[in-house]
């Protein structure tokens, strides 16, 4: 029953996300990095849609791409980065950093290859018509405490950010 288009969309969205992530870590200009990250987040929202998670995809687009990245862009505009463009972009230990990431990647590949038999090869199909409703029932049911704590966390973060960005407290 697998449609022909599913692998095409998966590879396209994965290439978009990974390519944007690569652009994020290599661009000289911070604004270019932020725009590349927005593209990567949109690609990831597409991957969420492929995983039958429309609510998380919507939250990703609205909160992550539309909220957090706008905040990043505001701060990039506030902070004067002209001097940073002329400086050295990568630290002197960039080779050690890449080596550490390669070792980490090898560890991931080892774990994934080892555990490939642990979960079923083909995923079940979850009905997505009531996805939002079911997530709502979970959030207001078993995860009620975490939900309230998250709102408290956001309040603390708002107060902290405002206090730290003020000129005179």
């Amino acid at each position: 029953m697998t449609p022909v288009a599913t692998p095409f969309f998966f590879y396209f969205l994965s290439a978009l996300t990974l390519g944007s992530a690569f652009l994020v870590i290599t661009c000289k200009n911070a604004v270019h990095s932020a725009l590349a990250l927005i593209l990567g987040l949109l690609g990831q929202a597409g991957l969420y849609l492929m995983l039958y998670a429309p609510f998380v995809a919507g939250v990703q687009i609205m909160l992550y791409a539309g909220g957090i990245m706008v905040l990043f862009l505001f701060v990039i505009m506030l902070v004067n980065l002209d001097r940073a463009l002329k400086e050295e972009q990568f630290s002197r230990q960039w080779l050690a950093g890449c080596l550490a990431a390669i070792i980490l990647g090898a560890l991931f590949v080892g774990v994934l290859m080892r555990g490939k038999a642990l979960f079923p090869a083909s995923s079940e199909q979850i009905a997505e018509a009531s996805n939002t409703q079911q997530i709502g029932e979970l959030l207001y049911g078993p995860y009620m405490f975490a939900f309230e704590i998250a709102s408290l966390l956001l309040l603390v973060a708002i107060i902290g950010a405002v206090v730290m960005a003020k000129k005179r407290i």
């Binding site: 990647g105 994934l112 996805n131 966390l153």
Partner: protein, 101 residues
């Protein structure tokens, strides 16, 4: 073409994580380091949602909480960045050395 399984999504998430780690470890611009941290968080989210397809909606709820936490952490981190930039006029990570001996 072989069907797209959970394993494919996990590989993409692992690659995203590794790219984020490279960004955190090698870049000198604090803003780009913060954006690489967001990449790492996104990789974790992809992992959670990929597994939630097999084992229920709890993974998606966790992913929503991770996104909320990422928002709070980005706000606080950028506040720290603004406060630091006001003092030192630079966003270079190597120049955050006020507590160095």
């Amino acid at each position: 073409m072989l069907p797209i399984t959970t394993f494919h999504y996990l590989v993409v998430a692992a690659a995203l994580f590794a790219l984020g780690v490279v960004g955190v470890l090698t870049r000198r611009n604090v803003v780009i380091v913060l954006m690489s941290i967001e990449l790492i968080l996104n990789a974790v989210n992809l992992n959670l949602v990929a597994f939630s397809r097999l084992w229920g909606l709890h993974g998606q709820v966790f992913a929503i909480f991770v996104i909320t936490d990422a928002a709070a952490e980005a706000a606080v981190g950028l506040g720290i960045l603004i406060a630091f930039f006001r003092n030192k006029e630079t966003v270079n990570v190597d120049e955050v050395d006020l507590l160095k001996w």
